[in-house]
C-alpha cells in the first residue's frame, strides 16, 4: 500500500461504507429474493445472479441483498421484495432477468416502485 494521507483515510472509509452497512445492519434498500424450493425451481437462482450483476454494474450503494424462504405465493415465483428505507415493502412476482434489471434501475436506484411489475405493496416484511 502506498503512503496514505488523511484524505486517503476518508476515501477508504467511504469505499467500504457499503460492506459495513451490511455488517452493521444499516442500509438504504434491501432486496429479498425468495428462495424456497418452489422459487428455486422457478428460477430464483438466475434472478439472484442477475440482480447481483445489475447492482454491481450500477454501483448501487446502501443496498443489501437477502434471501428468504418461500413467500407463500408459489404460483407467482420467482418473487422478490424491495424495501426502501422508510417506505413500505413492494413485492414483485414472476420475475425474469430483464424485469429484475428494470426493478434495480427504477426502484432500487431510482427510488420509484415499478408499478407495472409490482405484485403487492405494504404486506408483511419478509424475514
Amino acid at each position: 500500500m502506498a503512503r496514505l494521507t488523511i484524505d486517503d483515510l476518508k476515501r477508504i472509509k467511504e469505499k467500504h461504507k457499503e460492506e459495513f452497512s451490511l455488517r452493521e445492519g444499516g442500509y438504504r434498500a434491501k432486496v429479498t429474493v425468495h428462495m424456497g424450493t418452489c422459487g428455486i425451481a422457478a428460477g430464483a437462482r438466475e434472478i439472484m445472479t442477475a440482480l447481483m450483476a445489475e447492482l454491481r454494474e450500477a454501483g448501487a450503494e446502501g443496498v443489501i441483498v437477502a434471501t428468504s424462504g418461500c413467500a407463500g405465493l408459489c404460483s407467482k415465483e420467482p418473487l422478490a421484495t424491495v424495501e426502501m428505507h422508510g417506505q413500505p415493502p413492494v413485492k414483485y412476482g414472476e420475475l425474469t432477468e430483464a424485469k429484475i434489471k428494470t426493478i434495480v434501475k427504477e426502484h432500487v436506484i431510482g427510488g420509484a416502485p415499478v408499478e407495472k411489475l409490482a405484485l403487492v405493496t405494504g404486506s408483511e416484511t419478509a424475514y
Partner: protein, 637 residues
Amino acid sequence: MEQYRAHLMICAGTGCVASGSLKVRDALDVEIRKRGLEKEVKVVLTGCNGFCAKGPIIAVHPGEIFYQVVKPEDVPLLVEEHFIKGRPVEKLMYKMPADKKAIPVMNEIPFFKHQVLRVLRNKGMIDPDSIEEYIARDGYQAAAKALLEMSQQEIIDTVKGSGIRGRGGAGFPTGLKWEFTSKSAADQKYLLCNGDEGDPGAFMDRSVMEADPHSVIEGMVIGSKAIGATKGYIYVRAEYPLAVERLKKAIKDANEAGLLGRNILDSGYDFELDVYLGAGAFVCGEETALMRSIEGQRGMPRPRPPFPAHKGLWDKPTVLNNVETFAQIAPIILNGADWYKSLGTEKSTGTKVFALTGAITNVGLVEVPMGIPLRTIIYDIGGGISKKGKKFKAVQMGGPSGGCIPEHLLDTPVDFDSINATGAIMGSGGMVVMDEDNCMVSLAKFFLGFTADESCGKCPPCRVGTRVMLDTLIDITEGRGKPGDVETLLDLCEDIKATSLCGLGQTAPNPVLTTIKYFREEYESHIHDKWCKTGVCRDLASFEIDAAICTGCGVCARACPQKAITGEKKQPHKIIQELCIQCRTCYDRCKFGSIKIGPGLKFAKAGATNAAVADATAVGGPAAVADATAVGNRGEK
C-alpha cells in the same frame, strides 16, 4: 470493489481455531464454490468474538445471524439453507439454557445483549489482517486528529479527562502516567505495550491483538506523540503465535501506509514500532521486569523509585500500558473525554473487558460498563453456574495477585476501588467462577504454586516466602495441618506483602488472605477435622453413598476406576472403602446427589486427635517434602 449480498464472518481467534474454525472455513469455501455463490457470499475471517466456549462461531450479515459450534459437516446444510433457501438454520443457533429456545440474532443472546463494545468495537466485524477494513471503521482517524490537530498537552488532557485507568491491573490513571513521562527530558523515550498477558484465566489482550491489532497500534501512535517517544515495542507472549502474526502484519501494513514509522501522515512525527516476543515468564508482566526482558536480560524487576517515567527501558523515560488500555485511546481521542466518561463510575470510567471462565454457563469475553454489579455479569451475561444443581461459591478475580469474592458480595460493583475493598483486585479482568465443588484451600494452593514457580527469585520474601506458604498449604491439604497454621500464614502474608520487591510478591498472599477471610471454616475443617468437604483433597475426604437417595442406576459403579462400588440394579449401591482412592468420579457422575463426602479416613482411623496429627506430620515429613518439590519445581533445565 466487489459487492456481496452476504458476509459470513467466521471467527479465527485462538479459541475458535482450536475448535476447528479453519476447517469450517475450508468446507465453506468448497461448498460456496460448488454452489456458485462465490460472488455473492463473502467469507471473512475475524478475530475473537469472545464467546469462545461455543466455537467455532459464525455470524452472517445481513441479519446478524449467530451460529455456534459449527462443524465442517454442518456446512452443506448451512449453505443450502441459509444462502440458497434463505432459511437460517436453527439447529446451529444459540439456545437459551432455560427453555432451549433458539435465538437467531446475536445481540439478542443475553451473553451479547448486556455488553457495550468499545475495546472490542471491531470484534467479529472486520478482518484483522485488513488495514482497509480497520480504516473503514474509523481507523486511524484518531491518530490523524492527534498528530495533525492536537498538541501534546491536548492529547494528555483528553486522556486525563476521560478518567481512563490502566487496564493492566493496578489501575493507575493513564493520562497521569503520560504526563509524567512527557515531562521527563531525554534524548530518547520509549512507549511499550504489555501484551504479556500472563494471568491464568485472562485472555482479553490476546483477543484484542488477534481481532483488532490496528486498534493497539493506533493507540500507541497517539501515545507516542503524547509522551514524545519515537520507538516502541509490543511485548507479546510467545504462547500467542496468532496474535504475534497478526500484529506483525498490521505493523507492516501500517508502516507501508505511512501510518507508522517515519513522518506519519506527513505530520513530522516518527514512531517506530516492533513486536518483541516474550519467552515465558509471568513476572515479565511487571513493568520493570518487562523492560529488562526487552533489554535481553533475565526478567527480574527493579526497585522503584526510580520510576520508569524517569528511568525505564535502557534507563530512558518509558511508558508501559496494557493492550486493552491502548485499544481504548483512539475512540477517546475521536469522541472526547466526556463521551468516554459517560459510562462507568466516577473513579472508574468507561468499560472493562472480562474473561469469564470456570464453572459458568457462558464462558467467554465480555465488555461491560464499569460499575455494573458482579451479579449481572455472572448471572445475566454468564448464565450462572453451568452444572445443574450446583451453587455458586466464589468468583476469583485478578489471578494470582487477586482474590476470591464470595456469594454475599456479589452485588459489589465492578470498579477498581470496590473490587479492591473485597481483598481481590480488578487485575487484568480474569473472572474464574467457582461452584460449591471447589475447595478454596486447594485454590489458594494452586495460586501459591503458581507464584512460587513464577517468582523470579530476586527477593527472599517472594522467593522463599511463597515457597513456605505453599508448603504450609500442601500440608493442610494433605492432612498435616496443625493448629496455628492459619495464624502463621496470616502473619507471613503481612510481611511478604510489606517487604517484597515487586507486585508479584506483594500480591502473592492475596489468594491466601481472601480465602482465609471468607472461607476460614474450610481451612479449620481441613486442619482440625481432616475433612475437605468438597472432596477435592483426596487425603481429607471419604465417599459414601446415601442409601436413602441412591436409585441404583449404576452410573457410579460403571465410572469407578477402582471398581470399588457394588450394588444390585435399582438397589442402593455401596462404596468399598478399602478400594476407594477418593478420585471423586462417583460424586461427579451421580445425578441424584447421593454421594456424600466425609472426613479423611486414614486420620479418622488414627483418631483425629492432635497427637495423631503430630504423628502424621512426623511420619509424612520427608515424603511430603519430596512431594512438594515435585509439585513446585519447573524441572531443572
